[in-house]
């Protein structure tokens, strides 16, 4: 009989029975349980980032395209000719500005159908041949 059994004999029987029941009820976590929990957790978290990445890829293309379009519009609006200017220069209403517009302006001035001055006609003529502007200036 060891010291522990001797101590139990000195205790009241009710307490001894409750202590023994408490010892039996204590959960035992062995390494297999640990591994199973770990595997389940890994499986769960490995699936989650993949789903998130898939969602990101799905939206990446349309979002990128929209951003590019927005950027292009901003650049054209910032550095391109004003639409109002193009519309004013498109005298013949062809949808683009070229020498035929300066010609139309000159004919109208000759026929007194417009208040276009020679300076305005010259200015438009030189603008359509300017090398720093796009090759074909079309209305948006």
């Amino acid at each position: 009989m060891d010291d522990r059994d001797q101590e139990l004999e000195t205790l009241p029987p009710a307490l001894v029975s409750r202590l023994k029941a408490s010892d039996r009820a204590q959960p035992i976590v062995d390494p297999r349980t640990d591994r199973a929990v770990l595997d389940a957790a890994r499986a769960y978290f490995e699936q989650r980032p993949a789903a998130v990445a898939l969602r990101r890829r799905r939206f990446a293309m349309p979002l990128g395209a929209a951003a590019a379009v927005l950027l292009a519009v901003l650049v054209v609006r910032s550095f391109g000719p004003e639409p109002a200017v193009l519309a004013r220069d498109d005298v013949d209403g062809s949808g683009r500005v070229d020498i035929l517009d300066a010609f139309a302006l000159a004919r109208a001035a000759r026929d007194d159908a417009s208040g276009a001055t020679a300076a305005r006609i010259e200015e438009l003529g030189y603008r359509v041949v300017a090398l720093d502007t796009p090759r074909t200036r079309s209305l948006p």
């Binding site: 070229d98 020498i99 035929l100 300066a102 010609f103 000159a106 359509v128 041949v129 090398l131 090759r135």
Partner: protein, 153 residues
């Protein structure tokens, strides 16, 4: 007397050698040429716009004249920056005439002459693009574009 002749001959030889060296040391002068632009159309052409390109980007424009029709402006509209740049890749030309259709030339008409300076051994590689052609009433019309080059003396 003979000694004087010898010294004179030596002096002449030295002068000739110096002249030859001087010519060889001059920078490459290049060659001048003209590019005549023609527009051919069934209707008389009253307005035109073209773009002239040199595919290697080595075109030095030294002058521009109008074509054969004296009622068109001389020179045609062009960006004067091409004369300042020295070498340019492209040139846009345009012009119009307020003459009546009966006074305008029909068929194949030389509308402009471009004077260029070429350097190096490679032959210039020109390309023409028709931007717009119009009749006397302002209507856009169909036309064909061509060019001829000729070396200048």
């Amino acid at each position: 007397m003979i000694a004087r002749c010898h010294s004179l001959a030596k002096s002449l030889a030295v002068l000739c050698a110096l002249a030859a060296l001087s010519l060889a040391a001059q920078p490459e002068a290049g060659q001048f040429a003209t590019v005549d632009v023609f527009v051919a159309s069934a209707e008389p052409v009253a307005a035109w716009q073209i773009e002239l390109r040199e595919r290697r980007g080595a075109m030095e424009v030294v002058g521009i004249e109008r074509g054969d029709d004296p009622t068109f402006r001389d020179p045609p509209f062009f960006d004067r920056v091409v004369l300042e740049r020295g070498v340019t890749e492209r040139l846009v030309l345009a012009s119009f005439s307020l003459s009546d259709a009966a006074q305008l030339s029909g068929g194949r008409v030389r509308v402009a002459r471009v004077h260029v300076r070429t350097t190096g051994a490679a032959t210039p590689d020109y390309e023409l693009r028709l931007v717009a052609v119009g009749a006397a009433d302002g209507r856009p019309i169909d036309a064909e574009l061509s060019f001829e080059t000729q070396a200048e003396r």
